[in-house]
Assembly symmetry: C2
Homo-oligomer: 238 residues x 2
Amino acid sequence: MEKDTYSQHISRQYNRELEEVKAHLLEMGGMVERQVALAIEALIEGNSAAAQDVRDTDRNVNTMEVSIDEECARILARRQPAAGDLRLVLAISKVNTDLERVGDEAGKIARQAIQLSEEGAASKGYIEVRHIGVRVCDMLHRALDSFARLDAEQALEVAREDKAVDREYNSAIREMVTYMMEDPRQITRSLNVIWALRSLERVGDHARNIAEYVIYLVVGKDVRHIGLEEMAARVHGD
Amino acid sequence: MEKDTYSQHISRQYNRELEEVKAHLLEMGGMVERQVALAIEALIEGNSAAAQDVRDTDRNVNTMEVSIDEECARILARRQPAAGDLRLVLAISKVNTDLERVGDEAGKIARQAIQLSEEGAASKGYIEVRHIGVRVCDMLHRALDSFARLDAEQALEVAREDKAVDREYNSAIREMVTYMMEDPRQITRSLNVIWALRSLERVGDHARNIAEYVIYLVVGKDVRHIGLEEMAARVHGD
């Protein structure tokens, strides 16, 4: 009887540790989501104080990355998780890396925002930045939400969305190039916008990566590097 | 006595599994090293067949990434590694992600090589591509070598080198921008070169990430997101 109570206690504590590290990851996710959104605003509004805010937050994100990896290592060492619990810890450790790199991209967008506010705003590309920005922020949000709710179906939608974002990104870059050729005095500023677009496209890639880890976590199958149709088949157990 | 032989057997097999996954990782490392070098050659020589080769190899790299992560998960589930063994498995799993992304960057350089061979070679920037390319290939090679030999000192040098590469990259980009302003007809081709430079700079970042995981593995301390001086202090146990 006493032993039973003891193992229940252990198992309750173990579950709490798993829930905690998951909560920390989602907290970090919320933080980088806000960073990306703020960096986009900073660029479009020419608000260099907001851009500086984004860069300052990066330190907190970095600290969280290290601490979440420590939690994962501690759980692996002490609890020796198996099956679904092991997949959870491994997925957290991978998503952690992607989130930190999203934070890096937000920092890069903020840097372009600061340069644009110094050089004078670019005259083209802001509509594209806002448009693609809204899409990738939404992707990131839904990827994290699918992690929170273990929703493989929603994760699959995020992966699908990435293709559409890539198309929009390529068309935005083509427009920027045409524009630079028409007005070479705008080259430096246009390049700042191009780098920001590139960072946003990378954020979309990271959201897709996160979605793929959610699918791995939920259905137990690795869906990296396969087409969307095969991915859907694995999610639906075909 | 029999039990002892049994546990020795288990432990020999366990060590073999650890050695094997490490060997697979280093094999994948060698593969992406060759991809990057070949992609640079393809770009400079305008050799689109070589570029296609790089893109074809990417599939093998992707397969290896998935299979190395499976090996790591299997070892964690069956062997429940602790201390240094656990750090090894975790470091392998992280380096695996970085290597796959290096393969992606090689693929992107190859894409620029194909476009340049179609549009006609760019007239500037090749010297910089070759120069930065040689440096990041060397960084990647030494990062993997420091992993193979568990050499934290060499890993520290790789991290140091990354700063120098970033400076060279920034100066190369500035030159390309000046050049585009002087001759706007070269904008498209110059952008192809700029994307290739950007990819090389990212390869340098990944080499640095790998070096940081080597230090974590060898000295047991996380050295991400700290300055080089503090990193050196942790390596030297100050």
